[in-house]
Symmetry: C2
Subunit: 231 residues, 2 copies
């Protein structure tokens, strides 16, 4: 999963980010999103199904969760659910498509105002806030598990992350050229460490569910600053 | 899983660390380990079973893996295997006991020579080297998954980690008192971030299996230095 893919989750409910993503990025988005109109009842039902599916996948894994479980979680009959998604594979593909939209939002946030350390810290904190709920965090652990086992599903999510990583790479390279960060750092290694910190914090905040996420911000900033060699 | 529990894995094969752990820590160790003698054939067979079990748990999870699968992986008959461990629960308990020994080794390493940043970096790098193989890394993901779902098994491993965390807390407090690190940092939050970095790197190195682990050391040091506010 990309390093701030969960930013969409909250916006998914307020429906603001699909339009934003389509404005700020050249990444393809859902056909209904680019219209930037209010969602239809059909869109709302589809999002309801995806939310139920995420809950089931987080609980039982992509392989363990069944269409029956997703129906029960969504409180829909199989007939009703199949009108939106004909198979579990179609649901997973829709979740992957959401990830692509998240990736675009992440890239957009990285290109905002302020120092690179500030921007990466802000993207990171937003990522942590949005992955704090057990469904989202649990789903990410499942995606990592697929990535580690290098399944077709894992590769699908890995490609999405690669897009975010390319954007981070470009931002760091520019900051090196501008003298904003240490010109001697190996950007590839730094990104491996940076994405590891993101993954690790998401997981750790799931385990230590009494931790106050906002207390982390100054320490995340220190870590990023140290890693990038920013003054 | 504690932040350097995998240190044992390599030593498990060379059989050096059991004795070391019993010398350097007051944590209980296996009865055969404290004798610091060469392993008997029975010990070797038992370790062979545990290695096979780790492979199966990493592949299929603690719940998904069966005694039949462990027998097949160990190339032993059920009758032979049951002589060492009467149940899957007994195998898991033996793995947890190994984790306790790892925790002791981790605590011992933290109390070595050099600056705190150097010691934590060294412990961290050793942890990463030892978790690099897919069995160990995969098992850790399974343990995190149990911890997130807060199962009895997850709690068992969480207690072991808590012991390592207490040792880290004491080391950081002492370094604060000695003026070695920033006296203003909140040790609890710093440890949450530090353990997150460890978890995240273990997972990331499983996903990016072409990454050269040794290139990470200088960046891990920068991150720890920034986090602790060390000069």
């Amino acid at each position: 999963m990309d390093a701030c893919s969960a930013i969409r989750y909250e916006n998914d409910h307020s429906l603001s980010l699909h339009g934003q993503a389509s404005m700020n990025s050249s990444l393809p988005v859902d056909s209904y999103a680019s219209a930037a109109t209010l969602p239809t009842a059909h869109d709302q039902r589809r999002m309801h199904v995806l939310a139920a599916a995420r809950t089931c996948f987080a609980r039982s894994g992509f392989h363990g969760a069944s269409m029956q479980q997703i129906c029960a979680e969504a409180q829909m009959s199989p007939g009703a659910l199949y009108r939106y998604y004909p198979s579990k594979e179609a649901i997973i593909e829709a979740i992957a498509e959401e990830e692509r939209i998240d990736a675009a939002a992440c890239v957009a946030a990285l290109h905002g105002e302020g120092s690179l350390v500030d921007r990466i810290t802000a993207v990171g904190m937003e990522y942590l806030r949005q992955t704090l709920d057990p469904d989202t965090g649990g789903l990410m652990v499942e995606i990592w598990s697929e990535s580690i086992r290098n399944t077709a599903l894992g590769q699908r999510f890995h490609e999405i992350e690669a897009e975010v990583r390319r954007a981070f790479h470009a931002a760091l390279l520019r900051a090196q050229e501008d003298g904003e960060i240490d010109p001697g750092i190996d950007i590839d290694v730094v990104l491996t460490v940076l994405f590891a910190i993101g993954d690790g914090l998401v997981m750790r905040l799931q385990i230590e569910d009494d931790a106050d996420i906002e207390t982390i911000e100054p320490y995340l900033r220190r870590v990023i600053k140290g890693l990038l060699g920013a003054p």
